[in-house]
């Protein structure tokens, strides 16, 4: 029997068969909705179909004068510029400490990693209980140390740094595990060569450890930045009765989008804000990749 198709055609047909369902998925569930968000942003789109109409770029000009959006944007940037460096620095310090010990290393690593896999919702509620101004254990401990009670999540000034700290607490283990793997992949011989050349601890760290950790740094910085720019779950749950409060001090872009779309049903304007978030993530990620990914050759 002669084959009906050539080998190459046969392989292409198999590929088509394998890709058919996934391609339909990506086109209709991932790609089309992304464009639909752009399209929706040009419409007034309420729950009531009779009230939907084209408004052009009106939502984008509204964004320029929306004070709440300004606040959400400012907060989101603040979370990111405080949170990402804090997470990377603490992660690196802990990874270096872990690398310098031999016993109990796996136990410590597991302990630091645990928060990363626990549900953020539960973590948020545990912290809002511990940080409760009047009955929280944290203020109780501060009291024993002679430090006055703090308002933490109920103070407009302290709420944002507190939320940032909680998010860093939860992500730290992920960071430590990545850095530790990065540190362990640096060949011992580099350190030995540096010691023979008479390099001190700091010089070794500065000229060997840091440059060789660069790929892990870039990856971590990008992942952490994207995470902070999309901060939502913790902010919602840490101040559940006044989400984004007190007085908007913890509001993020993602939460504002959620409130616009699903509490006020201004889906068109909310879609316009998602386009802003998309642009922000895209630009920051590209800039970071450019700055951080300079190759190091040895």
């Amino acid at each position: 029997m002669k084959p009906r198709f050539s080998l190459a055609t046969r392989e292409a047909l198999w590929a088509l068969a394998f890709l058919a369902i996934p391609l339909v998925f990506f086109l209709f569930i991932r790609i089309y909705p992304a464009f639909q968000a752009l399209w929706l942003s040009l419409f007034e789109w309420n729950a009531d179909p009779a009230k939907r109409h084209y408004v052009g770029l009106e939502h984008y000009s509204r964004m320029l004068t929306d004070a709440t959006l300004g606040k959400a944007l400012r907060n989101t940037v603040l979370y990111t510029v405080i949170g990402v460096p804090l997470q990377l620095a603490l992660g690196l310090i802990l990874a270096l400490l872990l690398q310098s010990v031999t016993r109990l290393r796996d136990l410590f690593r597991a302990i630091y990693f645990t928060p990363y896999i626990t549900p953020a919702v539960a973590v948020a509620w545990v912290f809002s209980w511990m940080l409760s101004p009047n009955f929280g254990i944290v203020n109780e401990v501060l009291g024993l140390l002679g430090i006055p009670a703090q308002k933490f999540l109920t103070s407009p000034a302290q709420a944002l740094p507190t939320v940032t700290a909680i998010v860093v607490w939860q992500n730290l283990g992920f960071q430590v595990v990545l850095f530790l793997a990065g540190l362990e992949s640096i060949p011992r011989t580099y350190y030995e060569a540096a010691r023979i050349d008479g390099a001190g601890g700091w010089a070794t760290f500065r000229h060997i450890t840091l440059p060789l950790l660069n790929p892990v740094m870039v990856f971590s910085a990008v992942i952490a930045t994207i995470g902070f720019l999309q901060l939502f779950t913790q902010v919602v749950n840490l101040n559940f009765t006044d989400q984004g409060g007190p007085v908007g001090s913890t509001l993020t872009l993602a939460l504002y989008i959620y409130q616009l779309a699903f509490a006020r049903f201004q889906l068109g304007y909310a879609a316009a804000v998602t386009v802003l978030l998309f642009g922000l993530i895209l630009i920051i990620t590209l800039v970071q990749l450019r700055i951080l990914s300079r190759r190091v050759e040895y």
Partner: protein, 270 residues
């Protein structure tokens, strides 16, 4: 000097460890206290009780939320592992026109944040009647672009001679994928499976948007809305949190090594 440094490292690590563990301890201790003991701030419960657990488990749909989360995360993990491997394999090992376009198309979806898709997904779900259904909860996560990228890397490192051997043995192209290639990428599957399961188990935004009736909620949504209504009943809130955290801790206890290695693997390959 060296010994001093090692001692210091242990002390700092132990202090950090306390900061990591204490919230979990405090959560569990609070969950064992009756309401009357909440505000006296003694560390150990004077009258430890499981009443809070009984109350949360019977007064809410907690068992249902647990099963919902288990089902959603389980099904999603299965479909992601199957389809992501299939696509990853196709992109790594089969020759066909338009391969680069397909790869770039899938990769480009990684840049779009979920927030941007949630609104069109919701509009779509309203149109098709998917709001407050399991299909509505499931459909956005059935295949993952990140997983395609990851699995493609794993399949690329397999020698093509293995697949040719399968073809000579008379396996169909699908047989070659399923019987020969798929079993050889187990480390990748484990890493992707763990990531997908955890991501879906802990997911909050989309389940919050798409569910309405209490019975359809997933665990995180159920815990959040229950806690919001419980007001200052912190003993019940901490009980609900404990019930959400304990299964994860148990799984982590047993698969600690695989989970951490999976994270490293996705970090290195991804």
């Amino acid at each position: 000097m060296n010994r001093f440094y090692t001692a210091l490292a242990y002390i700092l690590l132990a202090l950090g460890g306390v900061v990591m563990v204490f919230p979990f301890v405090w959560m569990l201790l609070t969950s064992l206290k009756p309401f009357g003991e909440l505000f006296n701030l003694e560390v150990w419960p004077r009258d430890p009780t499981l009443d809070n657990y009984r109350e949360v488990l019977t007064r809410t749909d907690f068992p249902r939320w647990f099963l919902n989360s288990l089902g959603i995360a389980g099904i999603t993990t299965a479909t992601v592992l199957f389809f992501d491997s299939l696509v990853g394999y196709t992109l790594a090992k089969l020759r066909f026109p338009g391969k680069e376009i397909v790869f770039v198309l899938i990769l480009s979806t990684l840049m779009v944040p979920t927030e941007m898709l949630v609104i069109p997904w919701y509009v779509m779900s309203v149109g098709y009647g998917w709001v407050d259904t399991y299909w509505g909860l499931l459909f956005p996560g059935l295949i993952s672009a990140f997983g395609v990228f990851l699995m493609r890397q794993f399949f690329q490192s397999l020698p093509s001679e293995l697949m040719d051997a399968g073809r000579i043995d008379g396996l169909s192209e699908f047989g070659v994928f399923w019987r020969v290639a798929f079993p050889l990428v187990r480390p990748g599957l484990a890493a992707l499976g763990i990531f997908t399961f955890l991501g879906n188990w802990n997911a909050f935004l989309w389940p919050l948007v798409i569910t309405q009736s209490p019975a359809m909620r997933t665990l995180p949504v159920g815990v959040a809305l229950f806690s919001g209504e419980a007001n200052t009943a912190w003993h019940l809130i901490m009980t609900a949190s404990s019930l959400a955290v304990l299964p994860v801790l148990l799984v982590f206890l047993f698969f600690q090594k695989q989970i951490i290695e999976g994270v490293v693997l996705t970090g290195v390959k991804g």
